[in-house]
């Protein structure tokens, strides 16, 4: 019954007249290389200019997050999830919160869910802007870096006004979010969203029809549908290969099923397709954000945090006036207990499926918290895409797979 799948790699572009042809040389790239987007090391075996074999070496940013979670306990680990994929901290918070809510059987109020959707889509835009900027600068489009970082700065100003931090916000709690979105923040986000679609058009006008961008990306790093599935790729990388799979549509969470948006899908699965998918995702995210803002307008003044006092902190006004509530707050902060059992919570992050597999024995400290990092799978696919290609293509391939080492190494 068992069958073994074999895969054909992209055919090599070997220059037979190359005087170095046939002589294999090992080339080290990283861990301190600007094009590796962090501390990734690649050991490339080259034949002339063609890559024959490639080995990614990860772990240079390993901080033992999963072990830390077992020691700190459920609640205090929130702040660590920000540091996983540090270009989309709010998204990581929400992924972790969803896993814990599944374990606790806790329901988030509608307004809390809408705020989460808004935060997730803003994070997705921020993360895709980083992708566009860094991949652009790696392939020679230096302007892209400045243009996208300009937009990201505006977005961070908005998040700063809301959460009080530009990065590492930790604004999500079990059962909802920490504070409500007020009128000022809402107007700030609206201003950003009004200007943003024109900016996406501007990015596209610089890249999509650009001869250099096209030649560097088209037919480079081609990933077939079957390969993408077999190599556990998710997110834009999977959709770039033509698989219509998006957790927001297929396993809706946070009320995504009530939003109107489309899932862009690529055709041949090369770097260019993955680029187009991400560009379109930014537009769709803008659409979702606008819908979320309209909903927030309707539910103004509603609950945004669940009222289950087993998991949620009592309001500050009660803590300051009642000894019992003060003790209660202290108990929740130090040892909030979750029911025994196991749960897997996953969200569609900007890199793919970000999952948290949590196991509880009924105490305040987890037995296990496994982080399913989409970035690790993206790194794993580098050799698959790079074998047989010219060495200059590695930069385009790394850029298009889009990973952040904080999440890969955990």
């Amino acid at each position: 019954m068992t069958t073994t799948q074999t895969f054909e790699y992209a055919p090599g572009v070997v220059d037979e007249d190359d005087p170095l042809h046939g002589e294999l040389m090992k080339l080290n790239m990283g861990p301190q290389h600007p094009a590796t987007h962090g501390v990734l090391r690649l050991i490339v075996t080259v034949d002339g200019e063609t890559m024959r074999e490639l080995e990614p070496v990860v772990g240079y940013l390993h901080r033992g997050k999963e072990k830390t979670c077992e020691t700190l306990g459920w609640r205090k680990f929130f702040v660590h999830t920000d540091r996983l994929d540090y270009v989309q901290p709010l998204m990581n918070n929400i992924g972790y919160a969803i896993a814990l809510e599944k374990l606790a059987g806790l329901k988030v109020p509608e307004r809390g869910q809408d705020i989460r959707v808004l935060l997730m889509e803003l994070s997705r835009i921020a993360a895709h802007l980083i992708y566009l900027g860094t991949t652009g600068i790696d392939l020679g489009a230096v302007t892209m870096f400045f243009f996208t970082f300009n937009e990201r700065e505006k977005l961070y100003d908005v998040l700063d006004a809301y959460t009080g931090h530009r990065m590492n916000n930790t604004y999500v709690r079990i059962g909802g979010v920490y504070a409500d979105v007020d009128e000022n923040v809402q107007q700030g986000i609206e201003r950003f969203l009004d200007e943003f679609p024109a900016k996406v058009d501007e990015f596209e006008s610089m890249l999509t029809g650009n001869r250099i961008w096209f030649d560097r990306n088209r037919n480079v790093g081609v990933l077939s549908r079957e390969q993408a599935l077999a190599w556990s790729l998710t997110g834009p990388n999977l959709r770039g290969s033509g698989v219509d799979h998006d957790l927001r549509k297929d396993e809706p969470y946070c009320g995504y099923d009530g939003y109107d948006f489309e899932v862009p899908v690529g055709t041949i699965g090369d770097c260019y397709d993955r680029y187009l998918v991400r560009i379109e995702e930014m537009r769709q995210s803008t659409r979702i954000c606008k819908q979320a803002l309209a909903r927030l307008q309707d539910t103004r003044g509603g609950e945004f945090l669940a009222q289950d006092r087993r998991y949620v902190l009592p309001p500050k006004s009660e803590v300051r006036s009642s000894m019992e509530e003060l003790i209660h707050q202290f108990k929740i902060v130090t040892d909030m207990e979750l029911p025994a059992g196991e749960a897997y919570g996953a969200i569609e992050s900007s890199k793919g499926e970000l999952g948290f597999y949590v196991v509880s024995d009924g105490t305040s400290h987890p037995v296990r918290c496994h982080i399913r990092a989409p970035g690790l799978m993206n790194v794993q696919a580098i050799p698959l895409l790079a074998r047989g290609r010219l060495i200059s293509d590695i930069v385009a391939i790394i850029g298009s797979l889009d990973f952040v080492m904080g999440e890969v190494d955990r």
Partner: protein
């Protein structure tokens, strides 16, 4: 939510215990000996085309100590399933599924790195996140949280540096 009616006929004849979990994903508990066959049937007959992760849970001091987990996903049917096998002993080992899911390679390496669970048949099974030559398994329950410095590795690196420096 796992559609068990779709899975049951395919796994008939295997020693599998079906358990429920809090998130609605069914857990199929099996033995390490039957694991490869079970995963192969899930892939070929039930359409679970994507391996989400491979990991383990250390239940120290229970015996057998480790629960090794494989979570599979079917995009066509929109459901997931978790396969679990318990292993223990001095050298806990389970068969590899890299021949079925090439994408499980890094997950298996990570699990070996963190728990010391050996995946039999996995060519190139080596540490993923910790340095090569490190002697401990960090996610085991008897490993201290503050960590253990790789003293032997440091001495080895020092020795090599001195050898290089000497003419």
């Amino acid at each position: 939510m796992t559609d068990l009616d779709r899975i049951r006929p395919a796994i008939a004849g295997l020693a599998v215990e079906t358990l429920a979990s809090r998130d609605g994903i069914a857990v199929l508990e099996t033995t390490p000996a039957q694991l490869h066959e079970l995963v192969a049937r899930l892939r070929d007959a039930c359409g679970f085309e994507l391996c989400t992760f491979v990991t383990a849970v250390d239940r120290f001091p229970a015996d057998p100590r480790f629960e090794v987990l494989w979570q599979l996903q079917s995009i066509a049917h929109g459901d997931r399933v978790r396969v679990r096998a318990r292993v223990g002993g001095e050298r806990p080992s389970v068969p590899t599924i890299v021949d079925l899911y090439p994408g499980a390679a890094f997950s298996e390496r990570e699990c070996f790195d963190m728990f010391g669970v050996v995946f039999e048949g996995h060519a190139g099974l080596k540490r993923l996140l910790m340095p090569e030559g490190y002697e401990h398994f960090p996610l085991r329950k008897d490993f201290p949280h503050q960590g253990i410095e790789p003293d032997r590795l440091y001495r080895e690196w020092d020795r090599r540096r001195h050898e290089k420096a000497a003419p």
